[in-house]
């Protein structure tokens, strides 16, 4: 699977060129070769006539675009389903070379994609700051518009956020008589205890998005952004090794699976038979994993506040996904396009029953919680309070940067599959991050 080249703020191709013989003409580089309209911020002539907007979307969001079409017959939408983010990015490259064929609006399924598509070599995203009122922007959850902000520019609107929470099976916890953990140390302790007292039951999975689920809340510097073309990675830091050691101990004890939560084997062993006692993970686990994949009865799982590393003195949390809407800077109907993404991210779409994800736009969060209380409740009864804390404590410096192949999934997950420990894989993971990032044009600082 090819992934998307990203960099929050441009120029990595420039950086890359500087290191090669081809140095001289950096920056301008490749785009200019095929695309007559390079140059970053010029706006194409706006068309006053009735707007036809080309939309690239995934299947889930398609329903939203269709209901916009119903409500706004004056705009004609040409809705195209484009597979995964990689396909979209590849198609954008082709459009860039051809100088035509861009969509007006694009759904980006992962938060870090907008920054990538805003920068070279894609240079795709329009600045929405003139089109979206600032009081609308202010209503997004704290930090949620960070991936959509580039200096003064607004390069996307955030659809949803996915903070992690501690999920637990209410019936099993009551049956076994366990207390809900509040710290990672208690979590590990309980995991070891479950391995002893109730073998065959699980406290979660270590593969999957383990970097986001476990390493982010521990403030491990996986790919911190230093500046426009430099990242820092230091997986030997204590904030990383403590996570690896905890997971390794739980895996060795047998209550933490080395697979990921959606692996058929995990589903068969723990998901379907209802043997998952607790799991740390994003808020979308409730619907997408527990209900849809495991077939858990509604109301069986509950959420508790994010866990804290005792020595940190305060809670830090992580986020696993959340999509954005991007408008093309090539669009000749910027106003209409902006209106549509505003409708999707902050308008009626977020109130629809089929909107499964947790809205980034705060005024719609209460409604979403209302619609989901049949699905899960919260320790102490207040889902909103748990979610508020989960969002407010997200560590802002994790450095969501999408560089091909650096994921936890490409190095650590396969190693786990072959019986190795996470701790011994950390140096390899760091090497992969370094090599892949350098190949993508980043400078990489390693270690302290």
């Amino acid at each position: 699977m090819t992934t998307i080249l990203t960099n929050v703020r441009a120029e990595r191709l420039g950086a890359r060129r500087r290191r090669t013989a081809a140095a001289a003409a950096a920056g301008v580089a490749l785009l200019a070769a095929g695309c007559g309209s390079s140059g970053t911020s010029e706006t194409p002539e706006q068309d006053d006539g009735p707007a036809t907007l080309v939309v690239w979307t995934d299947t889930v969001r398609k329903a939203g675009f269709e209901s916009y079409q119903e409500a706004h017959p004056e705009v004609r939408l040409d809705i195209q389903e484009v597979g995964n983010p990689d396909d979209m990015a590849a198609k954008l490259q082709l459009a860039n070379r051809a100088g035509e064929g861009w969509p007006d609006i694009m759904w980006a399924g992962i938060p870090e994609l907008a920054a990538a598509l805003s920068a070279e070599p894609y240079d795709f995203a329009a600045d929405l700051s003139d089109h979206i009122p600032s009081d609308v922007i202010d209503n997004f959850a704290p930090g949620s518009m960070e991936p959509c902000t580039d200096g003064d520019r607004i390069i996307c609107l955030r659809n949803d956020i996915a903070p992690s929470v501690l999920w637990y099976d209410q019936d099993l916890m009551a049956e076994f008589g366990y207390e809900i953990p509040t710290t990672w140390q208690e979590f590990e302790q309980l995991g070891l205890q479950i391995a002893q007292e109730h073998p065959g039951y699980s406290v979660g999975s270590a593969a999957g998005p383990g970097d986001l689920v476990y390493f982010w809340p521990s403030r491990c510097p996986v790919t911190q952004i230093v500046d426009d073309h430099t990242i820092r990675t230091d997986l030997g830091a204590p904030t990383c090794t403590r996570v690896a050691e905890m997971l390794d101990r739980l895996i060795a004890a047998g209550s933490m699976s080395p697979l990921n939560a959606t692996d058929p084997e995990f589903v068969r062993e723990y998901g379907k038979p209802g043997k998952l006692v607790m799991a740390y993970g994003p808020i979308w686990y409730g619907l997408n994993v527990f209900k849809d994949l495991y077939g858990a009865p509604e109301g069986r799982f509950a959420v508790a506040a994010p866990l804290q590393w005792e020595e940190d003195g305060q809670v830090w949390n992580g986020n696993v996904g959340g999509g954005t809407y991007i408008v093309s800077r090539h669009s000749s109907h910027l106003e209409a396009a902006a209106d549509l993404v505003e409708w999707m991210a902050t308008g009626p779409y977020q109130e629809q029953a089929e909107t499964v994800t947790f809205p980034a736009y705060q005024p719609h969060q209460a409604g979403w919680i209302q619609r989901n209380t049949r699905l899960f409740s919260a320790a102490g009864g207040d889902v909103a309070a748990v979610l508020d804390e989960a969002v407010a404590t997200i560590w802002p410096d994790y450095g969501l940067v999408r560089i091909p192949g650096i994921g936890y999934g490409t190095t650590v997950a396969p190693a786990l599959g072959t019986g190795r420990t996470i701790l011994e894989t950390l140096p390899e993971w760091q090497q992969t991050i370094t090599q892949e990032a350098q190949a993508a044009g980043w400078d990489v600082e390693q270690g302290e």
């Binding site: 090819t2 992934t3 090669t20 013989a21 081809a22 990921n260 994921g407 599959g417 350098q438 190949a439």
Partner: protein
């Protein structure tokens, strides 16, 4: 009069045939130029054109410096051997076994062999990923007996070329059909003569039939080497199935794809693709020279 009509009809038929010939080859030429030669020419242009114009080898330097460059070629070399040898042995072997059978039996078996081929490479991979994932595989006991508990163990770096080769062999039944056709073109008199001289079927196969289908074998090898250097879909799909854990940027063509669509570096992608073209052409030339493929038999 009647004779004249026949003659005229014959010329008309020949003319129609010639027209059809021009039409088919004309269409082929258009497609060849549009989708083969022009893109190839453009790739050559891109690969040698400097950022500011002029001739350069920078793009070749750029790809050669990539940390994955050498290993992608190693992967494909292992894969080619692991694929080519068994696929030849199997296709020739099966064809030899099949050829002396009664026509009705042979055609049933030919159909059976052809079935996996009916799946495109991509669908074949999906089937195999399913077969090789211990959690869902119908042959799970076999896999666990071999010590494989999950997909990552099955697809370890050492196993991957072999697994991909198995998939390729499985879907390369066209080799059997080709070899069968080649064997069928051997005149009956020749095999009959061999039999009269006291050769058993093994000796006939090795000393008479094989040398006579040498050119077909050479032709198959050329096609298969070209196909191997272009390996892309299979590892790409396996990478998808393993969350990027296995098979990502595994073959040179995948790396070229990454250069083009991830780094927007189409020039380096072209430079890498040209190297694959050169390898295929060199292999073809070598095989043609060694087997005198194009020499007319008298």
């Amino acid at each position: 009069m009647a004779a004249m009509t026949v003659a005229a009809g014959r010329t008309g038929g020949a003319r129609a045939q010639a027209r059809a010939g021009y039409l088919f080859s004309g269409l082929y030429t258009v497609l060849l130029v549009g989708f083969g030669l022009v893109p190839a020419g453009y790739a050559v242009y891109l690969a040698f054109k400097g950022e500011t114009g002029g001739f350069t080898l920078d793009h070749f330097v750029q790809v050669a410096q990539d940390f994955r460059y050498v290993e992608t070629f190693q992967h494909v070399a292992t894969y080619t051997v692991a694929f080519l040898v068994p696929s030849l042995v199997i296709s020739i072997g099966f064809a030899l076994l099949l050829q002396p059978r009664r026509a009705a039996v042979a055609s049933w078996f030919r159909f059976l062999y052809y079935l996996p081929q009916a799946l495109t490479g991509a669908a074949g991979v999906i089937v195999w990923v399913f077969m090789l994932t211990p959690a869902v595989s119908p042959v799970r006991p076999l896999l666990t007996a071999a010590g494989y508990d999950n997909l990552f163990e099955v697809l370890s770096p050492a196993n991957l070329p072999v697994v991909l080769a198995i998939i390729a062999v499985w879907t390369s039944a066209n080799g059997i059909l080709l070899m069968y056709a080649a064997l069928s073109s051997i005149p009956v008199e020749v095999t009959e003569a061999a039999r009269l001289d006291g050769a058993n079927s093994w000796q006939t196969a090795i000393h008479v039939k094989l040398p006579m289908i040498r050119k077909w074998v050479a032709y198959t090898v050329i096609l298969n080497v070209a196909a191997s250097t272009q390996l892309f879909v299979e590892p790409q799909l396996i990478a998808g199935a393993t969350g990027g854990g296995v098979g990502e940027n595994w073959s040179p063509l995948q790396l070229a794809y990454t250069f083009a669509y991830t780094y927007a570096d189409f020039a380096s992608a072209a430079a890498l693709s040209l190297q694959l073209l050169v390898i295929s052409v060199l292999a073809a030339v070598l095989i043609i020279k060694r087997t005198s493929l194009f020499r007319m038999e008298i």
